[in-house]
């Protein structure tokens, strides 16, 4: 039973689409940062000096990217202009690439 208009049922709200795009960026950022820490002991040491442990800083950085970009994308409505199906596809694709990117990195590098 759909009591709303067609446009309401085929779109995501500005907040949701903003945080979906932010999550896609954050999961890729997470894997990129893991790779960067692995090849750069200086970056690893720097992150350790910031949060007491590189993993703590890494998690806080991921949360900052997700929440920070989420609020920015929601406020500017930039993600709302993207087709919702493409946005969902981008999130799923980013999660798969980021997850496999981590596992394959630690298998081969």
């Amino acid at each position: 039973m759909n009591s709303g208009s067609d446009s309401e049922s085929t779109k995501l709200t500005a907040t949701t689409s903003g945080f979906v795009l932010a999550a896609a960026v954050a999961v890729l950022f997470n894997t990129g940062l893991a790779w960067a820490k692995d090849v750069s002991p200086r970056l690893n040491d720097f992150m350790k000096s910031l949060g007491g442990h590189h993993w703590t800083t890494h998690g806080l950085a991921d949360l900052a990217v997700f929440l920070g970009l989420g609020f920015i994308f929601a406020k500017t409505r930039v993600a709302e202009k993207i087709d919702p199906n493409r946005l969902i596809g981008a999130l799923v694709g980013a999660a798969v690439i980021a997850g496999l990117g981590l596992a394959l990195w630690y298998v081969f590098v």
Binding site: S9, T16, L91, L102
Partner: protein
Amino acid sequence: MNISNSDILLLAHASFGTMGCMAALWVFVEALNARPSNAVRLQRAALLTAVCMAAAWICGGYWYVRFYPAEKLIILKGPWPFAHNLFMETKEHLFFITGILAFLLPIATRERLYSDGPGRKLVLSVAGLIVITGLAVEGAGAAINHGVKVSLLHNESKGASR
């Protein structure tokens, strides 16, 4: 009986992670059958997913920083060094993806899911990814635990054969 803080934290971490995966599966099933009457229950299940994953993050994170270094040394001296080099290295970073998706889920479930639009597709995708990555992280945890066990058994059997 001697149960240390390390044991409690580690078991709480695994338990919260499992409950988070189960709550995400609950969201998935509710979203498959989304209708106005289960919208509130679906949102509560999504919130439960996020709370459980946050608790797993805090318990596991504290344990990893405070207690894991000693276990890492045991693993690396044993026959399963990949329990750390592959499984822990992947798990400690893959968990962040599960956590971010778990925090996204309560936002996504505010969409009108019963109209069969992109909101429902989004919730099914996010909940499904949480279950898959969460179970992968749980499995990696079991492999790490086994890495410690085989190392201790290996060293004990070497000591006994001398």
